[in-house]
Amino acid sequence: MNRLSLLSLQILVAVVIVAFWQVASTTHLFGNPDNISFFFSTPSAVATQIWKWFAEGTIWYHLWITLLESMLAFAIGALGALIVGFWFARKERLGAVFDPYIKAANALPRVVLAPIFTLWFGLGIWSKVALGVTLVFFIVFFNVYQGVREVNATVLSNARMLGMSERQLLRHVYMPSALSWVFSSLHTSVGFAVVGAVVGEYLGAAAGLGYLIQQAEGVFDVGGVFAGMFVLAAFVLLIDWIMTIIERRLLVWRPEFSKQGK
């Protein structure tokens, strides 16, 4: 399938859904439109709301806050996980001792931490960043751990025979191997950073997309909720697209990312 026909089919899906939504919420075809539009709003109301946000420029501030929280959560979580992951993978005993605690912490539903983080870090961005960090950390941690443990034995022996010291092995072998695992989980971990930020905002904040949605929900403004969701979805798609570009650049040595086929 070529790109154009793929794109047109993708757009067609959206058109069909919106058209169905429009018909259902404005005509008597599927029941009382007043009821339906109360529960589902109407496409035009949602579009008007989004238009208003962008025209008045109020949305930019909220988007910026959510973006800032997500990126901080990702950066701090990934960096911490990189350091701890490396450390645990190279010091087997240390890893073994902390293994049950890591697993237990990872099993915890992170949402329950949100109120505690609010208590600790206040209503500003840092409580959301903290929530995002707890999500990102584990994904990156497990990938780094795996990446270090699963370095190809022959490549490692070869590097040793080439005269690499322990530090050089870290730089030229362990690090690239671990990073390739981290990059391949980039979509998931960045996604989780956004989830952490939005959930945090939703549970108590003064700005951000989560806050917008929560405010709209508080006054039964279903149109506002849907508008917030659409903006959030577009935001995530955009970030995902940027990640794909970054990934292509960083993992050019991997067969599946290289344009130059065999």
Binding site: S157, N158, M161, M164, S165, H172, P176, S180, W253, S258
Partner: protein
């Protein structure tokens, strides 16, 4: 005083190194730990010397512990009994004098061909620019001048082997260890790689330990062919000098009478060992 002693010691070591063989295995026994505390003896009481300009091929049935012997010479693991000495000095840890060409792909997939070849110099302290310049020349010597910026997965198996060869040789090791390096390649590529290896080796003779299960390859390349018995507890059971003239052309030399005579002689010994391996298989099948 201490400095003088050290200097004297160094002079002695240097003198010893000149006369000592590149690799000396003395009664080397190698064991591996298996599950439930059992031990598996791969190689028993192997003694072998490799001269500093000598090309020695080690041949034996599959799974007999040829690679194990090579890994012990590389210092990747130590023997359970016996000793390994390199130019007269007992080996402890990685053998810094040796380059190792592995059977499997051992290039770093995240580095380009050029970076892979240059890395051995870079980690030894050569400036990156100079290392890359020399790597470029080496890639030219193995016929890959225009493939410098390719990542390993963009190269064919034979090309990857050539990069690996350049990666080993650029460091100018005094000893070259090769573990069935051309095993995964097709027959034609093997002949070309063998010729390339002989050409590079004859320019600047090093000690070579070349492990293979291909007798023709062993005779065509080596000065000496050492035969290992079937494992476990494999021993060295034969040592044949190959008096064929150099330079050699691998595909031509196989047609010569002297080649066929020595081939027949070694095969007579090797065949029994190969059959033993299969005998075990048949018993296992019963």
């Amino acid at each position: 005083m201490a400095a003088a002693l050290r200097q004297e010691g160094r002079a002695k070591a240097a003198a010893a190194a000149e006369s000592a063989p590149a690799v000396r295995l003395d009664g080397v026994t190698i064991e591996f730990a298996l599950a439930r505390g059992q031990r598996f003896r791969a190689v028993a009481d192997a003694s072998l010397t490799v001269g500093s300009q000598e090309f020695v091929a080690i041949i034996g049935p599959t799974g007999c512990g040829k690679s194990t012997l090579l890994n012990a010479s590389a210092g990747l693991f130590g023997p359970a009994a016996g000793s390994v000495s390199i130019f007269g000095a007992p080996l402890s840890g990685i053998n810094r004098q040796a380059g190792y060409l592995f059977q499997q792909d051992a290039l770093m997939p995240w580095k380009t061909a050029l970076e892979n070849v240059a890395i051995g110099l870079e980690v030894a302290g050569t400036k990156q620019r100079e290392a890359r310049e020399r790597a470029r020349r080496w890639l030219g010597r193995v016929g890959l001048a225009s493939f410098c910026d390719r990542y390993p997965h963009m190269l064919s198996g034979g090309q990857r082997k050539r990069v690996a060869l350049a990666q080993v040789l650029i460091r100018d090791p005094k000893i070259i260890l090769m573990d069935e390096p051309f095993g995964p390649l097709d027959a034609q590529t093997r002949v070309i790689m063998g010729d390339l290896l002989l050409k590079l080796w004859s320019e600047d003779r090093k000690a070579v330990m070349f492990v293979t299960h291909d007798l023709e390859e062993a005779i065509a390349l080596a000065d000496r062919v050492v035969v290992m018995s079937a494992g476990p507890s494999a021993r060295l059971i034969g040592d044949f000098p190959i008096a064929l003239p150099r330079p050699r052309d691998i595909s031509e030399i196989k047609l010569e009478l002297a080649f066929q005579t020595i081939h027949r002689e070694i095969w007579r010994l090797l065949k029994q060992e190969v059959l033993k391996t299969y005998g075990d298989l048949e018993e296992a099948g019963k």
